[in-house]
């Protein structure tokens, strides 16, 4: 028996556990995906006509669908990552996390198992949302490279938000807090370029909207999917924010994990 932990094997074991949870408790996944679908349908079919007219002289519902879909995709990422906070808080409150911590397993594997599980959930969720958007008439014009870059950005942003959510779940004393704390993440796209161009906002709000993490991610994603030129500075900001959020979440979660009193 070697004294080394088995990080990869333990992470896979934890991933299997989390996938089994998702299959056995699909209502959480459905709830997390339901919100972006409702937003998509609401904003396209209820507000879309008016909001589309605001996009420019020949704007309309179809143009608004193209505008809002990248924002909805990012909301999906935020919503799915929220599920991580809930499941990690459930682990912590139910005592199973304390059990894991008394076992000779790779300490990070409990957390990476959650991140990988959420990533799979997010990829599937994004495919569903994209299918709904396309059924509604969304026609992305990205080429192969554009799709690849868009997928890469979404995966990176998912990993970032998931680590942050994980830390928020660990810092929460109860599952209820854990489900509310990251809620702000699903609201940030509204205070950015997710639903309306930021230049339509009052100056004071625009400053926040232009530089908060979601706006560069949404803008870059939009350019990639619609095949319009990508703003290099914006793309760098999107990747930079994602890396910073991922690092903060990772370090914070790793610090919290051994300190979370098992109950």
């Amino acid at each position: 028996m070697t004294t080394l932990a088995y990080p990869a094997r333990d992470s896979l074991t934890m991933l299997r556990r989390n996938v089994r949870h998702m299959l056995r408790y699909p209502s959480l996944t459905l709830m997390l995906l339901g919100q972006p679908i409702v937003f998509l349908l609401l904003f396209v079919y209820v507000f879309g006509g008016t909001l589309g007219a605001g996009l420019g002289p020949d704007g309309g519902r179809g143009e608004y669908l193209a505008f809002v879909t990248p924002g909805i995709l990012v909301i999906t990422v935020a919503s799915v990552s929220l599920g991580t906070a809930i499941s990690v808080a459930m682990d912590a409150t139910e005592g199973i996390m304390a059990r894991f911590r008394t076992m000779a397993i790779s300490r990070a594997s409990v957390l990476t198992g959650h991140v990988l599980g959420t990533l799979i959930q997010a990829v599937l969720g994004l495919a569903v949302i994209l299918a709904v958007a396309m059924a509604a008439g969304f026609r992305p014009s990205a080429g192969g490279g554009g799709w690849l870059a868009a997928a890469g950005l979404l995966v990176l942003f998912t990993v970032a938000l998931t680590w942050l959510s994980l830390a928020l779940g660990l810092v929460s004393k109860s599952v209820e807090t854990a489900s509310n704390l990251p809620m702000v993440l699903t609201l940030l796209p509204f205070l950015g370029s997710g639903f309306v161009p930021t230049d339509s906002m009052p100056a004071w709000l625009r400053v926040f909207a232009d530089y908060q993490p979601f706006t560069p991610v949404i803008d870059t994603l939009r350019s990639l999917l619609l095949g319009t030129p990508v703003d290099g500075g914006g793309a760098a900001l999107a990747v930079g924010w994602s890396v910073v959020i991922a690092l903060v979440g990772y370090v914070w979660a790793k610090w919290l994990f051994p300190r979370r009193a098992g109950r």
Binding site: R17, E94, I96, A98, R99, T102, A104
Partner: protein
Amino acid sequence: MRTSTQPAIAVTGLRKSFGDTVVLDGVDLTVEPGTIFSLLGPNGAGKTTTVNILSTLIEADAGTARVAGHDLSRDADAVRRSIGVTGQFSAIDNLLTGRENLLLMADLHHLPGAEGRRRADALLERFDLASVAATTPATYSGGMRRKLDLAMTLVGDPSVIFLDEPTTGLDPRSRRTMWDIIRDLLAEGVTLLLTTQYLEEADQLADRIAVLDHGKLVAEGTADELKRLVPGGHLRLSFADPATLGRAATALGEPAGDEESLTLQVPTDGSAGSLRAVLNRLDDAAVDVASLSVHTPDLDDVFLTLTGHAAAPEPAKEPAP
């Protein structure tokens, strides 16, 4: 093979505070391999904190500890490989079936698949859980959950097992079952550190008992040695109503009592003279005693004598078995 003669658990000067609250105030313990050692004390005595430190969940502020021959602070992973922990709060995965819970443990102990399945099935059989192996614990009784919890602890074949109040909240029958399981484990050569607030449980199971009160060990020994610390047993006097109870308490110098059951416990050396003296004092105060019984020394008396207060600080939520 556990042939080594070094202690299974050796603790010196263990201290832990949470903020300003001192929870452990210099605890020394030695547990010989293949024995059951019981930490006995009321809620808040520091039992769970001791288990949490020894099972690597939290770090002590001071003191040294070796568990299964490994230093707790220097080689926590080696300690983790040797121990199993069943805490007060069930540490089972409620979304996995009983069998999947055990297989999860087998995977985390890096057992080969076939060996993991063999151990899981053997434990399900042994703990009478085979019939519910394919259902999630949501449908289990408290006793079944506790058994699954303990079974999960055993998958890794630990040599030292921590049981933190393993029978708290169980009905008397499940408690007996758990006691039998614990005795079986001992017969297999495992070392057990058991915390309990039930005196009878420590008396029934433990080879040695340490009495923990406010973070300090106030006594340690076998059940018999502890009982010898108390000269006699006690008289248990019952009264008809609270007023009578109050007058009796005054007459006898406010001994320990229980207002709910209208009883008083008066220490006695068991002689007829001491019995007569108590009754005379009650007679002088014109107090009627509804009933009276004489108890030989038990751990309750030990606790009372050592700490000056009863084992259960508040009226116990569940009566001891």
